[in-house]
């Protein structure tokens, strides 16, 4: 479920734990979290606690009320549900509130489907431990299901669901009332003071003359018994003996306090996983703050095995704290609770290079067996995650590069065929509009993004003028390389200051090398023809390739960056969740 089909080396080289400021892990899961993250599982990891209550449960017992218990299941990749949690049994109540809470890791980029079943526990089992109960021996009262993102995107983080019988998918007029279940979500960390630090080292000693030093830092906290638990690591810098890493963000509550001792170790990255320790320091956050204000460095040391006491070999390399600041950082979930939304928009490439949609080798071929083509898959994979964060579920949808009936080529036409409005209802609406547009337009060309980007930017701009709490995500799906690179760059630079992120997915077998220029992660900052430079990197590009096991993880890695882009935008403008 964690989608770790990303390459290990790349994952191992990215910064972990200390980057997205809202990354928080419950204390007992620190090491496990780091383990997963160091293997390339990016994304927003927040620990959420779910608590449950119910009303109007069915009364199955003859002489008293039901004794209900909730069992929670998670849907796995293959669609099957696995049990993960049971609450305690509440005696004699049809409107119970359970105390035990279920802790789940919230991952923005995947749809986490949960199933809740309520059982009435028979009297004879009342002294049996909850986990020993056999469910088939209990009375089934009903069930409900939802996605985790549906719960967290509600303003009060509570979702009330009707309980239904197992065989029904939705309650019908014939179903007897089985009551309602309310699920409430809380983030595990309530306090959010974060320390931001920029660390650098001078004069690192290289281990040998022939190999290059690729340094990175691991920051761990020391708990009782001297055990150190890794908290975060920086990115790996290539071949640098005087490295300055990107800022790390440490949640002070996650560490404990500013006085808890930390160990900062500098390693030389090795792609076989056996990183060599270059040196380390022992400092608390308070010490690091002092180092920063005094503008002093601290010498690294290497523990040596020789000698009776803990002899250290002091090195000439020094660690400096270039920047140190503390802020209260709101998390992505805080903004959702404050009414912020992510609005999804989609633009589909209808250029002739896709091939004739009526032929099976076309990228736009609609398979009568129901198998989705690459465009449909991309729309679905991104849309199904983002739809929960959009309150009205009306999505602007456009096509580009085609000739609507008897018209000139349009580089931004409404997918729904309307000349007045561009929105469709739900992901289903996008799919239907796409299919009908396919047979109502003539595929043409060339491939231009500029018009679609400008249209999306106008929508974002109007929302900004009305002070709406919206952040926009435009998905562009294309099969080819764009013809108007400079015009696209101009449009992107102009839009770079808006609450907008653009995801470009490349389908088919074209060489997308040029497209990577648009993604500043892989290249330089975009520059317009008037000398203006993009103030933010708002574009991410990924080629869409099917993975053997049938589930792509490329789209997930695109989506994983979104909460960070959203947070960076909000924080840099000092926009708070409750403004």
């Amino acid at each position: 479920m964690m989608g770790n089909c990303c390459s290990d080396v790349d994952g191992g080289m990215t910064a972990v734990g200390g980057t997205a400021p809202s990354t928080s892990a419950a204390n007992q899961n620190d090491a496990a979290d780091w383990y997963f993250k160091s293997r390339g599982m990016q994304g927003l990891f927040s620990q959420i606690e779910l608590s449950f209550s119910a009303t109007n449960l069915r009364d199955r017992d003859v002489f008293s009320k039901s004794d209900p218990m909730v069992v929670v299941y998670i849907q796995e990749r293959d669609g099957a549900f696995t049990e993960v949690f049971r609450t305690e049994v509440v005696l004699n109540s049809l409107n119970p509130t359970w105390i035990t809470k279920y802790t789940i890791t919230y991952q923005f980029e995947i749809v986490q489907i949960l199933l809740f079943r309520v059982f009435d526990v028979d009297t004879q089992f009342h002294n049996v431990a909850v986990k020993m109960l056999k469910l088939e021996e209990q009375q089934y009262l009903g069930e409900a299901s939802c996605a985790l993102s549906e719960i967290v995107s509600k303003p009060n983080r509570s979702l009330t669901l009707d309980l239904v019988q197992r065989e029904e998918s939705v309650p019908s007029i014939h179903s007897q009332h089985r009551g309602k279940l309310t699920v409430h979500a809380e983030e595990c960390f309530s306090s959010k003071t974060t320390a931001e630090m920029t660390l650098k080292c001078l004069n690192l000693e290289s281990k040998d003359l022939f190999s290059k030093t690729d340094p990175f830092l691991v920051i761990s906290k020391v708990v009782e018994n001297g055990i150190s638990i890794p908290v975060c690591k920086t990115e790996v810098l290539k071949n640098d003996l005087n490295p300055t890493w990107k800022s790390v963000f440490l949640n002070i509550e996650q560490i404990g306090s500013k006085d808890i001792p930390l160990v900062i170790e500098c390693f030389d990255f090795n792609s076989n996983g056996k990183h060599e320790l270059i040196g380390k320091v022992h400092k608390s956050l308070a010490d690091l703050e002092k180092l920063h204000s005094a503008r002093e460095g601290e010498n690294l040391f290497l523990p040596t095995l020789v000698g009776h006491d803990n002899q250290h070999k002091v090195l000439k390399s020094k660690l400096f704290v270039e920047k140190y600041s503390e802020t209260v950082q709101y998390t992505f979930l805080d903004y959702l609770a404050g009414g912020f939304e992510l609005n999804f928009m989609v633009a589909v490439d209808f250029t002739a290079s896709n091939g004739n949609p009526r032929l099976p080798d076309s990228l736009h071929y609609i398979d009568p067996s129901g198998r989705l083509n690459a465009y449909q898959k991309a729309i679905y994979e991104v849309g199904e995650v983002l739809q929960f964060y959009d309150a009205d579920k009306r999505f602007p949808a456009w096509g580009f590069g085609a000739r609507p009936i008897d018209g000139p080529v349009s580089h931004c036409f409404n997918l729904n065929g309307s000349s007045n409005y561009c929105e469709v209802e739900g992901i289903r609406g996008i799919m239907m509009a796409y299919t009908s547009a396919l047979f109502n337009v003539s595929l043409a060309g060339p491939t231009l993004f500029g018009h679609v980007i400008n249209r999306a930017a106008m929508i974002a701009s109007q929302s900004l003028a009305h002070d709406a709490k919206k952040y926009f995500v435009l998905l562009i799906i294309t099969d080819g390389v764009i013809t108007d690179l400079q015009e696209t760059k101009d449009a992107l630079v102009k839009a770079s200051d808006l609450p907008l992120s653009i995801l470009i997915v490349g389908v088919g077998g074209a060489d997308f090398k040029e497209m990577e220029i648009l993604d500043a992660d892989k290249g330089e900052r975009l520059e317009s023809s008037t000398g203006r430079v993009a103030s933010r990197d708002i574009v991410q590009f990924v080629p869409f390739r099917d993975v053997q096991n049938g589930r792509t993880c490329v789209v997930q890695s695109l989506l994983a960056e979104l909460p960070t882009q959203f947070l960076t935008y909000m924080r840099s403008r000092d926009i708070k969740p409750n403004s």
């Binding site: 974002a460 900004l464 839009a495 200051d497 808006l498 008037t530 203006r532 430079v533």
Partner: protein, 181 residues
């Protein structure tokens, strides 16, 4: 009633990859913001930033209605002798932040390519700015046009965009293949 000038709050954030004679600038960079020849303000000097200086210096200036450009000049101080040398400059057309996507009173983050006195690329400068006063609802294009000081252009293609072109002077005796780095 339109006032004669508006208040511009401009914060010079930082600059990247500044060079002088192909070597990175070592220290003491600063920026002068000019609205016209008499209306300038300078940031503090960044002693330690080197070729990636950061100032985070907020300057408040009066911007008359007719202004078309704001010029940023990055310079550095050569040691204690007090000499200043130019590193690069950027011209910001006012239309980039007035009449663009973001409302004028909204804090806008902009970045620009710096060019040195010879016209070669020399780093990037990052700023944020906002106008203190909103332009009171002029719905007429004429009023809006005169307020931004740009002549009323005839839109091509139905586009509202009164784009401004920034020209880069070509100096004579100047090798043609070194315009871009």
């Amino acid at each position: 009633m339109e006032t004669e000038s508006r208040t511009l709050e401009i914060t010079i954030l930082s600059a990247e990859d500044l060079r002088i004679g192909n070597k990175p600038v070592k220290k003491n960079a600063f920026v002068i913001v000019s609205i016209d020849s008499f209306n300038n303000k300078a940031t503090k000097i960044d002693r330690y930033g080197g070729s990636y200086p950061s100032w985070n210096d907020k300057l408040v200036m009066d911007m008359p209605m007719q202004t078309s450009f704001i010029t940023l000049q990055v310079k550095y101080c050569k040691g204690s002798s007090g000499g200043e040398k130019p590193v690069g400059f950027a011209r910001i057309p006012v239309t980039d932040f007035i009449g663009g996507y973001s409302p004028e009173t909204c804090l806008q983050y902009l970045s620009y390519r710096l060019r040195d006195p010879k016209g070669l690329k020399n780093g990037i400068i990052n700023i944020c700015l906002r106008l203190k006063e909103a332009l009171h609802g002029c719905s007429s294009q004429a009023a809006a046009a005169s307020a931004s000081g740009i002549g009323l252009g005839i839109p091509i293609d139905g586009r509202r965009d009164l784009g401004v072109v920034t020209g880069i002077p070509i100096w004579s005796g100047y090798p043609s293949n070194s315009l871009s780095r």
